[in-house]
Subunit: 267 residues, 2 copies
């Protein structure tokens, strides 16, 4: 090891918590928190204001944070640029987008793609009908697995320990149709695996029905789920099962066969 | 100042460079670099391997980086989730998407939204025709301002010092149609401002023509530009000027009048 490396290693060793603190500050941006004051950043990250200020200044100089006219901080464009290279979302997004677009144009229903992260789902991409815009998932947002068709598909194909964890945890009842009984959920999930799709009728609010199907990746595992959302009153959810399933299969096919993709998709 | 704050301030003071180094490591992810080995991260960030390894471990524990099966690192889903809250891209994206979707469905041409960042453009959102997918801008990617219609619109409305910097810098000639003469570019940009749109005929490759118009934000300044891309052979570019302009105006109108937006847009 050279002197420079020893020097570098020593510095990083003593400062382990500083990287953690910088990340803790970035991590306070979640849910609806898009702009935060220095004192909010300090309080929510548990870092004293003086320390937080120094770290925030470094983050701002680089462009990970930006300062609003009113002095509050927001996530910066440069961090967004770097993060747009995250392969788990980007790869799927780029492959799935044209298929999702075709499904949206054909049905004019909101189309969503999500992956499972731990015991929640993360919305990766969506095409949304302007009149269905309220209260729909935000790209990059996290949601419970047990209450929507897309979540049920991801939960049905999750490893056994994840399924146990979710079933043993708090199962929020969004409407009287939300299934919150663990034993019944076990049956629902077996059904989803057996049928190859999930249908959730007014389980998040009383207006909408969602239909979802699994996207199978190159290694044969379920890497994502695709859903359509329709008004309950239209009664068309059963008609959407086939379109969602074939589109999810087409996305899986494109993921498994890079020859189907345009060259830049995996660049 | 409490003892805890003094302690915190002291630590942050001595470790200024550690946050910078962590950011330098993240910053090596750009362009086509989606997966990098530890030694690549070290070399490209200029940080000794031993130090880089310790920082990378902190970043991985938090989820800013993820490790591939082959040992290479990629941007992690958690960083992507946090960064999806960047207001400059997110706000515009959410407002513009339904309008861009309508424009795509009406024309079936690739639709792109971009903002200016310094002397380059950053692609914020796009709807892309599957057959035009090759070599088209990547969302989150940076591109030169002088060579496309969308870049010319952003450059035409940039502050004078930015325009001077771009005109004095290297102007890459992509095709024989790319304008690389500073004096001629000055005239082109004046024309873009006066007409309210830009048309770039085969300036990036010999197959495509792009048409772009400015999006005016709440303070009356140009905050973004919108473009359509068509095959040169179709000869339909002039017919697309009106659709692009009215759509760019509609997006500006939505940005200026929050009453037109669904409630979650600015949340």
């Amino acid at each position: 090891m050279t002197a420079q490396e020893l020097d570098g290693a020593g510095e990083a060793g003593s400062s382990r918590s500083v990287v953690d603190r910088a990340l803790a500050i970035l991590g306070t941006f979640q849910g609806g928190r898009v702009r935060q004051s220095l004192s909010e950043l300090s309080r929510r990250s548990g870092i004293p204001v003086a320390t937080a200020y120094r770290i925030v200044r470094r983050l701002s100089d680089w462009g990970a944070l930006e300062r609003d006219d009113d002095g509050r901080y927001r996530i910066g464009l440069r961090l967004w640029e770097v993060a747009s290279l995250a392969p788990r979302s980007m790869g799927l997004q780029r492959v799935a987008r044209p298929y999702m677009q075709d499904l949206y144009e054909t049905t004019h229903c909101s189309v969503q793609l999500a992956i499972r992260e731990g015991s929640e789902l993360v919305s990766i991409e969506r095409f949304q009908h302007p009149r269905q815009a309220r209260h729909r998932p935000r790209v990059g947002g996290r949601y419970a697995l047990h209450a929507t068709a897309i979540g049920l598909v991801l939960l049905a194909h999750a490893p056994e320990d994840v399924r146990q964890e979710v079933l043993a945890g708090e199962l929020r009842r969004y409407t009287r149709h939300t299934c919150v009984d663990p034993a019944e959920l076990v049956r629902v999930l077996a059904d989803v695996r057996q049928r190859g799709y999930a249908l959730a009728d007014r389980t998040v609010d009383l207006d909408y029905v969602s239909v979802a199907a699994p996207v199978v990746g190159p290694d044969g595992s379920v890497v994502a789920a695709l859903s359509l959302v329709v008004k309950h009153a239209e009664g068309s959810a059963p008609l959407l099962v086939h379109p969602v399933r074939v589109t999810a299969m087409a996305i899986g096919r494109a993921l498994r066969d890079p020859g189907l993709l345009t060259p830049d998709v995996w660049s």
